[in-house]
Subunit: 358 residues, 2 copies
């Protein structure tokens, strides 16, 4: 097995807990029966509670990765009669722009830099929109947007508010009811700390009303909603990951609820940031989520060189960027089964790289 004894600080896959890993070693059970429907219902109920979804919200479970969640939402909920304001602060925002273009949904490519959109009122183009789309945590650069301010803006302008929460659920706060969010997209391999392959779309009643007929089978929300009534999916679900999700959601609840998980992620992130402040690394953005820290070397070193050195010298996996940012930034995830002792391995590795004593 590759990288079996490595320390994991990549933003997906993230470190999983022993309890979850053990379920991965069980036989996958047959699922077209009441016992598995109960698993689905338990997952749905916990997820809805976790994001404080409005009454009668529903969850769609897709056997697919996060991009399928983003695309299926645009396909099923937006049309040529919409005009979407798409926040584009990095690669994932750009992906939403591309998806709208592919599916012929009129949209504005709203390029955002150096703002968490707490000032969206001022920054947004003065155009009549019907929808607002954002990756709450733009994972390509580690930038968190202000879901409260965007929610206010969406409410005031009567916008259908779609939030990709893939890289911030469990580590950073989100509240569908309070923030007026209509759709939340989540995925298994980030804060939920499960293997990749399961994506969830949470639909408020306002979103359920919007579900339209699509010229597609695998991403037809109507089929998922109909099957969901009896705790099933139209096509084979990611059964093992669903069982792991059920256990993970129970684990979060047992450990004090999602607020506690968020608090813990915050402490871990602050501990890491504080511990490395004497090294020649600076935060790439002032708007960092608890989920991740993005760092820029200030001494002219190559970010990619640091990533490689941590892997080779210390068996520590952090995440490089591609393209132009390859040399200038790297990313450190705080998602998953983290502890200060585990993060110390990374901190020590960074000090070792710089030949400094911690």
């Amino acid at each position: 097995m590759i990288y079996e004894d490595y320390y994991i600080f990549t933003p997906g896959p993230v470190k999983m807990s022993q309890e979850i890993l053990e379920i991965g070693a069980k036989q996958t059970p047959y699922f077209r029966n009441g016992a598995f429907s109960e698993v689905t219902f338990a997952c749905e109920k916990s997820l809805l509670k976790m994001v404080n979804a409005p009454k009668d919200s529903k969850v769609i479970f897709l056997t697919a990765s996060g991009t399928a969640g983003m695309e299926s939402v645009v396909m099923n909920l937006l049309s040529k009669d919409d005009n979407a304001l798409v926040v584009h602060g990095g690669g994932f925002g750009g992906r939403f722009v591309d998806i709208c273009a592919i599916h012929k949904v009129p949209h504005t490519d709203f390029k955002v830099q150096h703002s968490n959109l707490s000032d969206i009122e001022t920054l947004a183009p003065k155009e009549a929109y019907t929808s607002l789309i954002v990756n709450a945590h733009e994972t390509s650069v580690g930038h968190l947007y202000d879901l409260d301010a965007m929610g206010e803006f969406a409410k005031k302008n009567n916008l259908f508010y779609i939030v990709d929460a893939i890289s911030m659920l469990v580590t950073d706060p989100i509240d569908m009811h309070k923030q007026g969010i209509d759709v939340v997209i989540a995925s298994s391999q980030k804060g939920l700390a499960l293997p990749p392959g399961l994506t969830m779309v949470i639909l408020a009643p306002s979103a359920l009303e919007r579900v339209k007929d699509v010229e597609n089978m695998y991403f037809n929300f109507k089929d998922y909603l109909r099957n969901g009534e009896r705790g099933q999916t139209p096509y084979t679900p990611a059964v093992t990951i669903m069982l792991q999700l059920e256990a993970r959601l129970a684990q979060i609840e047992r450990e004090g609820g999602v607020e506690k998980s968020i608090q813990k992620a915050k402490e871990i992130a602050e501990y890491f940031r504080e511990s490395i402040k004497d090294l020649p690394l600076e935060a790439y953005t002032p708007f960092m989520p608890n989920a991740m820290t993005t760092l820029t070397p200030t001494d002219g070193k190559s970010a990619m060189d640091i990533v490689d050195a941590l892997e080779e010298q210390s068996k520590v996996m952090v995440c490089p960027n591609g393209g132009a940012e390859r040399e200038t930034i790297f990313r450190v995830s705080h998602m998953g089964d983290m502890s200060k002792a585990y993060v110390d391995v990374l901190i020590d590795a960074l000090y070792r790289y710089y030949g400094q004593v911690r």
Copy 2:
């Protein structure tokens, strides 16, 4: 965990080997690097060998269940200028018909019963087709089609030949080169005996030529092929299942190659069929694959009653049918990590149900 100590004879998920299960309990490694590319290349190479794919064939790895494989093939390889002959002998054939309709691919709903299409030359409608589509093993009823005869027919009529091999790969023979198959669809949770969530599309050069632009992101084969050149996928792959696939393909090779696996499945299927021949159960079709046996009670008993009784009395899971067939047939899979001793549990359970001594 549900059904943890049950005996598994359902046609997906199927019983997995201990070696594969243990990989499910490992941390998921980061995958955007050379080490994971090697995993992808190893899987591609072994799969191509397994189906005797023509030189320069390619594999697309989709994080999705089998239906996504079926749909994406139609989306990327067929168009309104095609005319597809779609074999429809059960629920999965019907699904291909629906997919062609959704994507506006002209087609004939070729309803087939009581034939394995060794006589396709006689049975096929006399119309000009461009493509032939079949689920090699129509899993809804356990019926295996004659891929040789269909291949001959496809060759003679210059048809683009698409074979869904999801429920027969590893247990029943398929040979792209010999049978002139252009596309093979496979999935993780059947004969490959892995958890559900990974689907593979194998494209011969004749299929690669056909790949067109599609108005879809997640199912855009061109993106997969481009990323595949460096052993990557455009979106997060089902990393854990890919690692399990690599190990499983090596396991099959180590144990004597796919011919040996097919032989073993044949022996298991024959052993089961022979062992229950004194019970009031008859084969539903004369064209059974090694992968599965479909049985009809001949004493007026309800098939669903048998399924339930096996589960309750003996912790044995076989597969019920839905709809009109709920009372008349049930299915027994021979896919996965089977042995005669394991099958004996099912045979004994059936004898117990009938109050007979084996």
